[in-house]
């Protein structure tokens, strides 16, 4: 499992971008989605998740805005930018290549 989570961690940013491609979202929702998709086998640490948000934001791949929740605490939503979409496509292509290579090697 540790190899798996290492590989997954290496693709945190692409995983986040993929979620934002579907719709704008916030930290916990993204993490919840990752958990559901992986059948509760994998969950990002908050620290990892928010570090990735900061990196993506600095790079201009995502932008954030505060939601206007009427009840409870306000949430910070993230939205993917055009350059972010391009970056996602590139990362995905890279991953496909890596996957192909690994498949032929292992």
């Amino acid at each position: 499992m540790s190899i798996t989570s290492d590989i997954l961690r290496g693709h945190t940013e692409t995983i986040i971008l993929k979620q934002l491609l579907i719709s704008d979202s916030y930290g916990y929702q993204i993490n919840k989605y990752i958990q559901e998709k992986t059948d509760n086998q994998f969950e990002l640490k908050e620290a990892t998740l928010y570090s990735a948000f900061r990196r993506l934001e600095t790079a201009g791949y995502i932008v954030s805005y505060w939601g206007d929740e009427t009840t409870g605490a306000r949430r910070r939503y993230y939205s993917i930018t055009t350059t972010g979409k391009k970056y996602y496509e590139d990362s995905k292509k890279e991953w496909e290549e890596a996957k192909g290579l690994l498949d032929s090697l292992i």
């Binding site: 908050e46 306000r74 949430r75």
Partner: protein, 221 residues
């Protein structure tokens, strides 16, 4: 339990400068963790279990907070920003220098001295606007990373001596300018032009100040 989670996150931010960025990140983290906590309760976990799940899910926050501390050293001006700022200052200086010429040109060549004066003030206004814009975009850039208190402390200790020198030199400068103005006015008797000396003097004064400040910020880097 809610307060405990809040405390846990706040403690991680203890030694991080209280910038807007840091406070917002803290708020975001707390909101998301509390939502997770409530979800855990909803699926039937006890408060204790839910708390453990939330805290263990947070992971090592220092990788986040370290980034906020490092920001300061990362926020050195990029070459593009430097270039943009240089263009702004250079344009402003050029406008200052050209502005009195408008008066001369319009009153001597076209014989429309009013337009000349208006043109001069427009030039001065644009130039000042450029300088203000340049200064504001820069200072906001820095202040975002630093706490105001630290900045003030630094400024107070380092600048007290510099300010005293600056003020003395500045007052001497303006006395000399008044002297030059009176001298030229009395010798040429062209009073309707000589007041331009004050504007030129102000421009030169600001340019010198800008150069000094620029050097100073280079040294502190």
């Amino acid at each position: 339990m809610v307060a405990k989670i809040r405390n846990y996150i706040q403690r991680a931010f203890d030694d991080v400068p209280k910038t807007k960025k840091a406070m917002e990140l803290q708020e975001e983290l707390i909101a998301n963790c509390l939502e997770k906590f409530n979800d855990q309760l909803r699926i039937g976990k006890s408060e204790e279990e839910a708390y453990t799940a939330v805290i263990s899910g947070i992971g090592d926050l220092s990788e986040l907070t370290e980034g906020l501390k490092e920001r300061h050293s990362l926020s050195v001006e990029t070459p593009e920003q430097r270039k943009k700022s240089a263009v702004l200052v250079a344009t402003a200086v050029m406008l200052y220098i050209l502005s009195p010429m408008m008066v001369v040109f319009f009153s001597e060549v076209v014989n429309q001295s009013v337009i000349g004066v208006l043109m001069m003030f427009t030039f001065v206004a644009i130039a000042t606007g450029l300088l203000v814009y340049n200064a504001m975009t820069k200072s906001r850039y820095r202040r975002e990373e630093d706490t105001l208190v630290e900045e003030f402390k630094e400024w107070k200790s380092a600048k007290a001596k510099d300010r005293a020198i600056f003020e003395t030199v500045s007052s001497a400068y303006w006395l000399i300018v008044v002297g030059i103005y009176l001298f030229i006015s009395f010798t040429t008797l062209a009073w309707h032009y000589t007041w331009i000396i004050f504007i030129i003097a102000a421009a030169i004064g600001n340019i010198v100040k800008a150069i000094l400040l620029w050097r100073q910020s280079d040294e502190t880097k």
